[in-house]
Symmetry: C2
Subunit: 500 residues, 2 copies
């Protein structure tokens, strides 16, 4: 009886599930579709790229569909299809790198293959396959070995692959056909057609530039680090206004920087293949991005350790915290602000050192306040140095982070010169500058021996700025700028004079 009941319950459950199945299936499918839609919306360039591949495929299919084209190329048209499928990469740099590698490798390997077949035919009927076999074995092995070399792997890996492929195919199939030259010509021309279609579609239909991606990625990484730094205050000193939950997501943003090296390397590598586009010239200093990224990552390493102290349950005496809270808050906040300005400078490709240096200056002043706070607080709390160790360590790492932020801003400044960033349109002393107030200003035309007057016509005057060094007092100081162009930099150098 019990068994019977059990069976009934089971049957009812099964029927229930059978009834629910269509609605569950529908829910599952809707969920999937929504996921896919969200994925496409996150980066619409993915959808565009997919449509571009479809377009290239349709274009290249014309080699088959259009009778006159089919008559001249025949079944070799499928090499064009193959080329389109494998050469179509997401970025212009990727497509160009693959396309050019494929084109040149096919050309060289095809020529060598035809030569090898002719040479082998001299060895008679029995010798021919043996000689061809030796050629294919040795050249295949040598080209495969070359792919291990880092320099070749980085740039010509695909070319080496296509070299092996084409040489083997031409050499081996040359054994069975006499029209090897016609075949090689047809194949090469269809590959060129396929490659050209890909490259044209890639460049002229909503192009995705690897260089631009790299540029944005570096700027975004700096912003992430800045957000983490600014969130740190609210996380470590939760008495601040912001809620802890809100800042926590900010604080974790730096995590992705820790392991972004390979993505950056790949983009920098592809960016080299790209022609000039937008504000990026042909010889844009792509490798410099990697230097900036390296410093940003170093800074993120430090923040990772800092974050470890935030997450740990170690209790630090409240009176000690209250002493270091203000300078630490200022340090992290101003370092974050400085980084945001650096990122803005990269994003807009406009120099704006004044604002960056102002924030760095403030955070360095906070370091001094922190030192003073530590100095004055130590005699009272010496009874337990152990308790304040985590706090001291945290402060110490925060100082290192500020130093790194300064290094980043220096490297970006150097980079901005190489990458021809625009000067800020109006380099006048802005009221936010605060520390230095302009009292007098005049221009003097200098007499330079052997100076080409035409060349220097517009910029050969010296600017003398007289600043008010300490706003409340009246000690005056002269700064001699050499040219108007150098003016903002001069002031910047002066601002960063009091090295801490």
């Amino acid at each position: 009886m019990e068994m019977d009941l059990n069976a009934q319950v089971k049957k009812a459950g099964f029927l229930q599930r059978l009834k629910e199945f269509p609605s569950k299936l529908q829910d599952g499918v809707t969920k999937r579709i929504k996921n896919v839609q969200k994925f496409g919306k996150d980066d619409p360039r993915r959808i565009i790229h997919s449509l571009k591949v479809g377009l290239s495929l349709t274009l290249v299919s014309m080699l088959y569909y259009v009778r006159p084209l089919y008559n001249s190329f025949g079944v070799s048209g499928m090499w064009a299809i193959l080329t389109v499928v494998v050469v179509s990469e997401f970025t212009v740099g990727g497509t160009l790198s693959k396309g050019l590698n494929r084109g040149f490798a096919t050309l060289i390997a095809g020529a060598l293959g035809v030569g090898a077949v002719h040479l082998a035919r001299l060895c008679g009927d029995k010798g021919e396959p043996i000689v061809l076999g030796i050629f294919v074995f040795s050249l295949g092995a040598a080209a495969t070995f070359s792919r291990f070399f880092p320099k070749i792997k980085q740039r010509y890996d695909y070319g080496a692959l296509i070299f092996i492929l084409t040489f083997s195919m031409v050499a081996v199939s040359g054994y069975r056909t006499d029209e090897i030259l016609v075949m090689a010509y047809q194949r090469l021309s269809t590959i060129l057609i396929g490659g050209t279609i890909c490259i044209l579609v890639s460049i002229f239909v909503f192009p995705v530039w690897a260089g631009e991606d790299l540029h944005k990625m570096i700027a975004n990484n700096i912003i992430k680090l800045a957000n983490s730094l600014e969130g740190f205050e609210g996380e470590y000193f939760p008495s601040s206004e912001k809620t802890s939950k809100e800042t926590n997501s900010c604080v974790q943003q730096y995590k992705s920087i820790l392991t972004s090296k390979s993505a950056e390397d790949t983009l920098a590598n592809l960016a080299r293949w790209e022609p000039g586009h937008g504000r990026f010239r042909l010889r844009h200093p792509w490798t410099k991005y990697l230097k900036i990224a390296g410093l940003v990552r170093q800074c993120a390493f430090h923040f990772e350790i800092l974050n470890g102290y935030v997450l740990s349950d170690v209790k630090i005496p409240l009176d000690f915290i209250s002493k270091i809270q203000e300078p630490c808050s200022i340090m992290s906040r101003e370092a974050g602000e400085a980084l945001k300005d650096v990122a803005k400078c990269i994003k807009t490709m406009k120099r704006d050192n004044v604002s960056i240096n102002k924030h760095i200056e403030k955070s360095k002043n906070a370091i001094q306040s922190l030192r003073i706070a530590l100095k004055t607080s130590s005699p009272e709390t010496e009874k337990d140095l152990l308790e304040i160790i985590p706090g001291v360590t945290m402060a110490s790492i925060l100082i290192e982070i500020v130093n790194y932020v300064e290094k980043i801003s220096e490297v970006v400044e150097e980079f901005s010169g190489l990458a021809h960033f625009k000067e800020t349109p109006d380099p006048k002393v802005s009221p936010e500058l605060g520390q230095h107030q302009l009292l007098h200003r005049g221009t003097v035309k200098p007499v330079l021996e052997g100076d080409n007057e035409e060349e220097n016509n517009s910029s050969s005057h010296v600017v003398i700025n007289v600043h008010d060094e300490q706003p409340p007092t009246t000690n005056e100081k002269q700064s001699f700028g050499r040219r108007e162009d150098d003016e903002s930099r001069c002031r910047v150098d002066m601002l960063s004079l009091p090295k801490l």
Copy 2:
């Protein structure tokens, strides 16, 4: 006259360079050859892999050279060559992943392509290319879009590429040929032949297993970190016996760990495709390696910061250094020793927790000594807390590193169970154990209710060990192990009891 002399000097210089050219060329070539030789010697598997590719190519060429084979496959043999070239990867996992992806994608796409051609033929002569074009465009775009999804990209990227390729080729060329089924059959069978040759050569001729590489890589990373930790002592307290130059190379070894994530991810991904081999079973916990690697990298991040303090020019008072020198040296040395034992445990695939825990214990004891040293030293040096901040920070980070080393050993112990590591063959009390001296030992056969006697025949005795807890005194303590197998673990648990 002067001009004449100038020209003469130039000419002489040119002739000189012309004379030197052959010897220079020879030098250059010799240097290159030596470089290549060295590169091959560094990892002879590279040469072996190159020869394997040559071998596969030669084998697959037989489809052309041998008349009966050529009669049955014809020019489709070139698909076998193509498959061999693109599927031959360095590791077995890579070859299997590409081979299986290619095989299944060709099968599915080929079937769909034949279906599409039949469907298109129903639409009449004018409709056929339009319908085929729509099919190629939409399926090509959809498959390209699918390649953006991380899960598909990770495992089936190549399959999606081959799907687009095969479907487009079959559908488009189906427009111009009536023997589409014969063509599809020939192509599929040659691809299977090429793929099979590759996979067989890859597995049976000097195989390179991605899993084994991952296993060794993780162990080597741990050794690198251990070397850095052990070198740290000589670097930071150069009064030690070792010369600074010698240790410096050791200290820098951890650097490569900071950015090894992508290499580890790739290997773990390929290892999943590999069948069981050697001591690695089919369902070896490959993802656990990534967990260990993550902890090792975290530890390396900390060491990076620590190393920054070593390289900085900050001067720390000598009396403070002398106080923390000994515990810090012990901490880094013992943590390094513990890591070396962990690496040995992974390399040999044998558990040896006793030795690991002994070293961790010692380094944790050193943390206590360090705390005491800091506590006693603080009242005297409180006059300048600022000066000792770098030293305190260094010590604090070193403590974190020791904690990470303990975490690594715990995760590796958990992993050793999942990966079926061998127990250490002789778990008797070794004299090096030092802390616990065996005084008495006996076995008692327990009476367990409902115990299957046959099953427990060999291991159903209880061991009672009486240890001398503190060697110089005579306080005795009893430890009750349940079974002989658990004996070493019992002692280990006891050893780690005094948690710090």
